[in-house]
Symmetry: D2
Subunit: 363 residues, 4 copies
């Protein structure tokens, strides 16, 4: 009897999810195995009639497409799943045993979980608490996982942001304007840093370096002195002005700086307008960065992740995550993979490059 | 002695401005004429030392570029120009006579003004009040001039908006979301209509058709019934809900609805969230639509406009604007061209198409 | 009972075919009608078990895709169809009566044929000889139909060619090379002309203007004199050197010049190498021009064609083709539409523009 | 006195050359140093009046552009330079001493040579034989240098090839065709492998794996059996059929297989036509792969290379090449860097992935 693999995708979407699915289906097929897709997270394993047999024919054309054919990705934690009671209200139930029972009953050999740290943690719990043979595939558009050199989706997001910067250069220049562009990156500045350097920004503000508006304005004025009457400022959504930590502390604010600042891009634009009386516009790229066909780089990486996951399944390496370690793939224990985030370090070569080519990092 | 032409670009930038300049320079060159660029509107004609001789070599590579090499485009009306006095304050002066004097003294044969209705009106005043031989080239990214079938920049703006919609489809679908996208179009809905149809939107809201939120929500719910759990809504920045005119009237508001509504995209998103309790995000494309390399369509149209303007100069047709009348170019009197705007008519074939393929127009 | 429409796509593929299908399905659906797709030309009407009911769900995502979901497009003329006999050999049979019988038996209301002149001629024969209510939708990537201002697919092909020219500029410039690019256009030069102008070519050779290699080489040498050490030459596949007609006549050659010249692009490159001893490379864009996602322009036009075809069906206008007559759609008798081709006329505004901005047209 | 750096670019162009130049100029500027560009290889150092002082203003907009602002890149080896004698004939002269003399006389601190193995070897000779302080920046679009994990230009070339494959899928599918696409890669198959996997090819043929036409045809027939009536074949220009080595040996042929095979893409297409009687077309992507704006990935890498080269200059590390060793940059001795090429190894993870997802590698 052919081995059966289950697969799901969880968390926010990232370009390349479908390429992972494609590679898993094809790699399994070339071994004579079968793959079943669980839509909406673990829902398919909870209600097995909703499981979808994924054949090579079904996935033939999905590699270049955005999103995920396994549908909506944010559907709760099976260890605490909102289930509607007879009275119509939602209550959280632990449905993990039911899922594990179905998994066993249906004769699944292993489960491949494609997701961010939340999804991988759930996978890890299934592995350690329920004994499910799981393999993780890392998905974070922010490229902020320590355990793998790269994650798919990141190159596409950076490309989309850089293309936007390219477009804004010409219009900013024609109008002598400052354009402030807010990009993704709540906790790490990789998207801002990569797109800002590639897209010839004048200023890049990232969560790792609390910024000083005086330095930002100085750079813009310095541009004027050098007859460059426009400036491009890239701001990660999680960037914060210096001193903000104290303000947040004082107000007893647990949550995010956004509550005080509003959108950080618009906040920075307002400050520039206020200080320099210069025509300044802001733009939030938002979901554009998650959408669209994956770049060639992301397609290849996602396909390699998918193929490597099936290879790990064959070798019986479970409770691990696939990771890129150029030029090979390696297996990293899920427990380890989940913990470590990759922030932009002070001695980052990219950061050095940014400063050396004259980009103001806000400090 | 070779004939001399002056050229300037005015108003908001549009992809294709540099292609117009290229064609003017090359077409003039092939006749043995010279072209001088006036940067920052009419500033170059006011301070002739700032005029730039434009040679074929200088413009060789500008056709595919966005923006305008003639620099900042919003620099005031020469019939009422803000000029700094000795005390450092700005006061409006009529510098048109000075400009005309320079124009004559420097032996210019004619002036080509590339611009929107504001700039073309100024050009027309120079023609009628000062006797300047002017030729207009229409520039409106909104394609809302009655006098010409198309204007350059519009195809690029629509393409940028459609690409954004393409990207949002996959992410909206993966998250069962409603995405509301605000595009340009203060007074006319052409960009929203063209990009919304091409980009497979479910709802398109345009200034010409005051919309009913109930109809919008109905469409989104109807999608749900047909197992399409996401929707894309395109809103022109000038779209308004039904009844808004009265509200605006009541409050004695002279200005724009924005003062009441905030950004219309975010307003629509809020209403959807409120009525349907559905995960809804909004996005403002803003200046992305003005930027970037012109599409092939816009390049060709802009180049043809430029060549036609020089042809008109040769034939001595002044105080006219070049206009596309497929497959030829024609000359339209500036007086006539300035007046008539092209709104989306009720019986528009595009509007019919939108409705027939199931798009909700908000009414 | 709901009205039933059949639809097929014939001839070489063009970006936008799927958008036509989408609009037909959705427009029919909004009238309560049903649409059936006949795959592989008329094969579905010959073997009705192969007909596919096209629902809105099935076509939901096809608008941005290239190719045609109705599969292989070159499958013979039903008035003379190659059918395999019992002995295994192919013989031509007239299966048109059988098709018409099925059409009637299955209760079809009308047939929409999307295709080039070959396919439209077949549709016209069905209309006149068999009494089938047919509506034509024009598909020619070359934009060479007199009866409509534009056809879909053309803008995409021109964009692809222009993008290629953009890429070749930088490499040609870095190596002081001549790049010869062969684009589509057997009988008309529209693709070469539009892409050549937009892509800043130095020379454009089209079928309508037999070219003189001496003039081509002169232009390249003139570039050198002006310190432009590279040149870009665009050649339509049907372009021919002057005197070729006589050569073709002399040799009694009925077929194409290709037999003598080989690929015209490579022939031109060889001549340049021979005459100027200049590093020259040639490139054939070929099928790249037919592929890929349709541009926004082509999507919109194709969707409008599809919606207009169903509108014509509702109004009972048969044996006609939809055609663009800006800003509206009109119905043109098929008999008339098939005949007239649109070549580049000597007084074309585009041709004038090309010459005026310094492009050598080979004469 | 500020330190002075010379820079040149050599060999075939690659997208990202201008980004390297930009980063060198800006990084030098931020240290108060000056940069001079030597156009056409070492020509600027031979004829110092042709050296160009590169200021930040001059390079402000070049990062996103293709090609190189330092002009034509293939201009001979200064150790054996073709120089025209008084009689008008070209003879090879060693002009290296003259170059070194100028270098010293003009007070240059170091020379940055951006180039492939040919150019880097020349740089190495200048370092060892003449004592010039040189720093190399690797440029090979094929990504076949062992000493660095990646080279710029490669991602752009792969993206262009993948985009072409995307376009060909739809047209191949619509016509039930086999499309054979020849991509760059004389000695290594990286471009073919990366683009073939990302672009969903059915067959990938690379120089490292001599191929068997029987296996290729088998794969295409297998597709037919699975109702996939079209196939995409990617061939690196240096791929060869099995047994070719012997043939080349027998004929005493020193040169390339091309002399026997013609273009390998067309050769493969002919074989497929012959064996399977299937409609097959071939396409050579050629120089398209070198052209155009660098991808975001290549821009960032090229900018980092440029900044790292200046950092090395500051640290006095000469006769070395910058190299990527994720996530940092390192210095590799030129002597070592030149020698080792990176072919696709038999145990490559990418190769494994290709085979596992069902791609035929021709063996």
């Amino acid at each position: 009897m052919p081995k059966r693999i289950a697969i799901n995708t969880g968390g926010g979407d990232a370009p390349g999810l479908n390429a992972v699915i494609y590679a898993v289906v094809k790699s399994a097929h070339s071994r004579g195995w079968e793959v079943y897709g669980s839509r909406s997270g673990y829902r398919g394993l909870l209600f097995p009639e909703e499981l979808v047999r994924l054949t090579p024919e079904m996935v033939a054309d999905i590699t270049p497409t955005g999103g995920t054919i396994l549908g909506s990705t944010n559907k709760g934690n099976p260890f605490s799943m909102p289930v509607r009671s007879v009275t119509g209200e939602y209550q959280n139930h632990d449905v993990s045993d039911e899922i594990m029972k179905n998994f066993t009953r249906l004769g699944f050999y292993c489960h491949i979980a494609v997701g961010g740290d939340g999804s991988l943690e759930i996978a890890h719990r299934f592995a350690t608490e329920k004994g499910m043979p799981v393999i993780g595939v890392p998905k974070t558009i922010d490229n902020d996982l320590q355990a793998t050199q790269r994650t798919f989706g990141f190159d596409t997001a950076v490309s989309t942001a850089t293309e936007a910067l390219d477009k804004l250069h010409s219009t900013a220049k024609s109008h002598d304007r400052v354009m402030v562009v807010e990009v993704m990156g709540r906790d790490s500045g990789w998207i801002a840093l990569n797109s800002g350097i590639s897209g010839c920004a004048d200023v890049i503000l990232i969560p790792e370096i609390p910024f000083d508006m005086a330095k930002v304005c100085e750079k813009i004025e310095d541009n004027e002195l050098h007859k460059k009457h426009y400036s491009i400022v890239v701001v990660a959504e999680g960037a914060k002005p210096q001193g903000m930590e104290e303000v947040l502390g004082k107000t007893g604010e647990v949550g995010r700086a956004e509550k005080i600042l509003g959108g950080i891009g618009e906040w920075v634009a307002n400050e520039i307008r206020r200080c320099l009386e210069k025509d300044t516009r802001s733009l939030v790229l938002g979901h554009l960065q998650r959408g669209g066909s994956p770049t060639t780089f992301d397609r290849l990486l996602a396909l390699r992740f998918g193929a490597a996951a099936v290879r790990m399944a064959e070798e019986g390496i479970f409770d691990h995550m696939v990771a890129l370690c150029t030029p090979a793939m390696k297996a990293v224990p899920l427990a380890e993979a989940i913990q470590s985030r990759k922030k932009v370090p002070r001695d980052s070569d990219k950061l050095m490059t940014a400063r050396e080519i004259g980009i103001c990092m806000g400090d």
